[in-house]
Symmetry: C2
Amino acid sequence: MHHEHHLRSSDTIRDIVIGMSDGLTVPFALAAGLSGAVNSSSIIITAGIAEIVAGSIAMGLGGFLAGKTEADHYASELKREYDEVARVPEQEKAEVKEVFAGFGLSTQLQNQVADEMAKDTDKWVDFMMRYELGLEKPEANRATQSALTIGFSYIIGGIIPLSPYFFIAESGTALYYSCAITLICLFVFGYFKSKVTGQAPVSDALKVVVIGALAAAAAFAVAKLINGK
Amino acid sequence: MHHEHHLRSSDTIRDIVIGMSDGLTVPFALAAGLSGAVNSSSIIITAGIAEIVAGSIAMGLGGFLAGKTEADHYASELKREYDEVARVPEQEKAEVKEVFAGFGLSTQLQNQVADEMAKDTDKWVDFMMRYELGLEKPEANRATQSALTIGFSYIIGGIIPLSPYFFIAESGTALYYSCAITLICLFVFGYFKSKVTGQAPVSDALKVVVIGALAAAAAFAVAKLINGK
């Protein structure tokens, strides 16, 4: 089905967007913040890599658990719907009618639809799951795939703003290069993200850049303030 | 409607969960990682607060943009459906029939439903939005509320693991207290989160604790490795 396909590809894209936008932004802002407080790139590299490791695990496993929870929730609701259809079929039929009453169908037509749908239990339950409860069947292995996609995107995103600090010992100088590289990457990333999701690419890309710049500037200012420099 | 209400409250809870679980985990793991590399709590406080500032802005504004994108997407699809219903009504009726064919209704009944639904354009379009495209109307001000909830939850979550470093100058000692406090908070947080979302509280709480511990241990190990200690 076209609809299903659309949903799946946008799930993966959403995972990449989640991972990479945070990966580009948070380690970038952390490194910028520390550049406002310490002069040595080595401490910034240590903090930055610790952050990337922590962030990718937290986000990746977080994504895994969220996917698992969704799958568990679907399974338990599915079981309950099968139970209810067997136990109180008239009540479940009334719920089907209610859905169609909401779309302005006549009582007579509501009855016909409910009766006909009740002939096939699987399709009836599927209808209740999707249209009464608003639940889509989660894809198998969605949780694992989601965890890997988010975690990996976070690592890729995080290495970019950190890279200048590997080559430039003085953190203030490295910060300039980090800002330039990261803001360009955020723009390119925001541009393609918007292309794929069908939004206005340039204005959306600028929004992504502004978030990154704001986060970095705030972290820089706060770190300077703490250190009283 | 009950269904709508359920969705809304779980959106806010999801935002709190997103913000607080990352807030508890990432600054905790970053501080733990840096404790493996530097002895002074002051640099860890600077890095930790820079991370909280950066993370809360990135996540909060990220949540805001996600909400905005969802609302824009809904508005543009809604416009397109109204256009199509006016321009190619027969094709749109065929799509309604297709939905019901999927649930095993007879052709005759499919026709009746499509004809009756077509009498009220608003309800027809609403049906197409929800059941063909799977789109729910986003709540007004959802984006702003989501941004504030996620950002604030991240700050609250992040201050907890950082607090021992404010009182204990030697970072190795502060780390013990940070681990104890944070793992307890992760358990309590995981427990209530699972209660609310209807999952098994204890096993789910343990999963949340394991993610935090894993992220912190990995960050600690990597930071030690980089510094060759």
